[in-house]
């Protein structure tokens, strides 16, 4: 990570965004292969999950922390939008912003004391918050609709209503592209370098004058807010939200997507989310073994390809070329 010459830097920028260009091309081409609304539904769900995972990946892969409650942040965003628009007649965009700001505040409040400690503490705190949030959403049914869920209307902005699978696909794809692009820039910035340094060796990073806690808090809040925004959009797309979408198991699924695709690889998170969203639909006849397969993927990935599918495959390719 030493300094590089100007020309070299330009080359790196070119290369750096090669992945984004590929992503944009694929996202534009995929609709050609989608025959009906059901296929669009899977694709849109995959894109939304991918967006959450790119954010979560910043935390897991670059800040070396784990959140076991990201589904709750997604859920808080979704319920903020759902409740404010249906029960209080707010405009969807306003509800989205309030949800995002609220989740940002909550995650900041939690992270500030917790991230000053070393070790597993963020995992514990997010686990606790995640479960409490999902209990509250289940219990306060006068507000949230309880376990039966909450029905929510369309997303409207300045009199325009976002409807149709194509429209939502474009929004989800656009959000993912912006997120990936933003994350890439964040990682290449001084902040990103500091983050990577602290994943490598926190003590050394601190000795070098990096305020590790501050950066960790920042990344955590950012990823939580991103999850909340996706939640807000998702609730209008799906037309409904239930507490099961916000529970512990969903948080685990999100973490699995990130590690399966590849920790510390933005595109890995996207691949992980897409594969793990599509897979259950391909394996419906093996539904009895779905839980087992998910567990085996988690353990197997961590033991046999700890850097995830994408990076491992790319590594093989690279090694093959070199020899």
């Amino acid at each position: 990570m030493s300094c590089s010459g100007r020309g070299q830097a330009a080359a790196i920028v070119g290369r750096r965004h090669a992945g984004e260009v590929a992503l944009a091309l694929v996202l534009a081409a995929v609709p050609l292969a989608l025959p009906n609304a059901y296929a669009y539904d899977i694709a849109i769900n995959a894109l939304f999950s991918a967006t959450v995972c790119v954010g979560l990946n910043l935390l897991i892969g670059y800040a070396g922390q784990i959140s076991l409650g990201h589904a709750a942040f997604f859920g808080l965003g979704a319920y903020a939008s759902g409740i404010l628009t249906t029960r209080y007649g707010w405009p969807p965009l306003g509800a989205l912003v309030v949800g995002a700001v609220g989740v940002g505040g909550l995650s900041w409040l939690v992270a500030l004391p917790v991230l000053r400690l070393k070790g597993h503490f963020l995992a514990m705190a997010t686990l606790g918050i995640g479960i409490i949030v999902s209990i509250v959403l289940n219990t306060e049914s006068w507000l949230t609709g309880g376990s039966d869920g909450l029905m929510v209307g369309d997303f409207t902005l300045f009199g325009h209503t976002l409807t149709g699978d194509r429209g939502w696909y474009c929004v989800a794809a656009g959000l993912l592209l912006v997120t990936v692009w933003g994350s890439r820039n964040l990682i290449s910035s001084p902040v990103g370098r500091a983050l990577r340094a602290l994943h490598g060796c926190e003590v050394a990073a601190e000795v070098a004058g990096i305020n590790t806690a501050r950066y960790k808090v920042m990344v955590f809040v950012l990823s939580a807010v991103l999850a909340a925004i996706v939640g807000s959009l998702f609730v209008h797309y799906a037309g409904m939200i239930t507490p099961s979408k916000t529970g512990f198991m969903r948080s685990i699924e999100l973490v699995t997507m990130v590690v399966f695709g590849g920790m510390a690889s933005i595109h890995g998170a996207v691949i992980g989310a897409v594969i793990l969203t599509v897979l259950p639909h391909l394996l419906t006849q093996f539904e009895d073994y779905e839980t087992m397969i998910l567990g085996a993927i988690m353990v197997g990935t961590m033991i046999f390809m700890p850097r995830g599918l994408l990076v491992t495959l790319a590594g093989w390719r690279w090694r093959g070329r070199a020899s």
Binding site: I60, G64, Q65, I66, L68, V110, P113, V114, L117, K118, G119, H120, F121, A123, M124, A125, L127, G128, I129, I131, I132, I135, V136, T139, V203, F248, I252, V255, T256, V259, M263, D288, Y289, E290, T291, M292, I293, L294, G295, A296, I297, M298, V299, M302, I303, P306
Partner: protein, 291 residues
């Protein structure tokens, strides 16, 4: 003391004992390997489910229970051997993901093997309750409390008096030094998982007649045990027992005096409180983690 209070106390102590056993499992594994084993709840479930299915095959409880415990210990050792040892030296995040993966996998395997329904184990010695000052105490609750006491006493003896126990303690204090004096650290990790699985299975078996058991019964029990361990101070045995009893008691009291809907949230609210205000736990050491 009102009879209602006494009733809450009984149910808090009973369920708290199970949390204490689960918490001890977390602490033993944490000490031996610095791993937070999220599959601890699944050990509890496997112990109970295996006993149910063995008694279903016609075995008497006295034969089924030890077999189920042995099977769970085997699972525990296998987990350590095939999933934890290969990932030696991995980051805490990686290890957390591995143990969560194990728990998901074991739950899925249990569902495939035993189905998704609820199962019941008959009480060990009848269902006729004792009435104490107007509150009701089940014979099975006495089994739970008694077994927990025996297990804790056994652990005290194991760690205080036996060479294996001392080796485990030594490893938890300083793995490198332990290795230098000839302790096989990888063996200690296997032993710790086996021991934690044993605690879980025993707890699951004595608890099964009071609750019901099913393939996904382990999630919540495991998480509550984890809260107990964190509350007591992760890695501290006495702390885990104390933490378990406090969590159980807090749940029973909040169901009785506050709101039964938020009973489940109690344990997790405790986790947050501990993290924010006393991260080393009730009986934990001052330093949170050696670097």
């Amino acid at each position: 003391m009102s009879s209602a209070f006494l009733q809450y106390l009984f149910s808090g102590l009973t369920i708290g004992s199970i949390y204490a056993l689960a918490g001890l499992g977390f602490s033993i594994i944490y000490n031996a390997s610095r791993v937070i084993n999220f599959a601890q709840g699944e050990f509890i479930m496997i112990g109970a489910m295996a006993t149910v299915s063995l008694t279903g095959l016609g075995l008497p409880l006295l034969a089924a229970a030890p077999l189920a415990v042995a099977a769970t210990v085997l699972v525990g050792v296998a987990v350590a051997k095939f999933a934890i040892t290969p990932a030696r030296g991995a980051s805490p995040v990686t290890l957390i993901i591995i143990t969560i993966g194990i728990s998901v996998f074991l739950r899925g395997a249990a569902q495939a093997l035993w189905g998704k329904g609820f199962h019941v184990l008959p009480p060990f010695s009848g269902d006729a309750p004792f009435v104490v000052l107007g509150a009701v105490l089940l014979p099975q609750s006495l089994w739970v409390l008694g077994t927990t006491l025996v297990v804790i006493a056994g652990l005290g003896w194991f760690f205080g008096r036996t060479l294996h126990g001392k080796a485990m303690l030594a490893t938890s204090c300083n793995p490198l030094a332990a290795q230098l004096v000839g302790i096989r650290v990888s063996g200690v990790v296997l032993g710790a998982f086996g021991l934690a699985a044993l605690l879980g299975a025993v707890g699951g078996i004595v608890m099964a007649p009071i609750t019901f058991t099913s393939a996904d019964a382990g999630i919540m029990l495991g998480l509550k045990g984890f809260s107990a361990a964190v509350l007591g101070g992760l890695g501290n045995g006495a702390g885990a027992v104390l933490g378990g009893l406090i969590v159980g008691m807090a749940e029973a009291m909040s169901a009785g005096y506050l709101s039964s809907s938020y009973k489940e949230a109690t344990a997790f609210a405790i986790i947050l409180f501990v993290l924010l205000f006393m991260p080393q736990g009730l009986l934990g050491r001052a330093g949170t983690e050696r670097v």
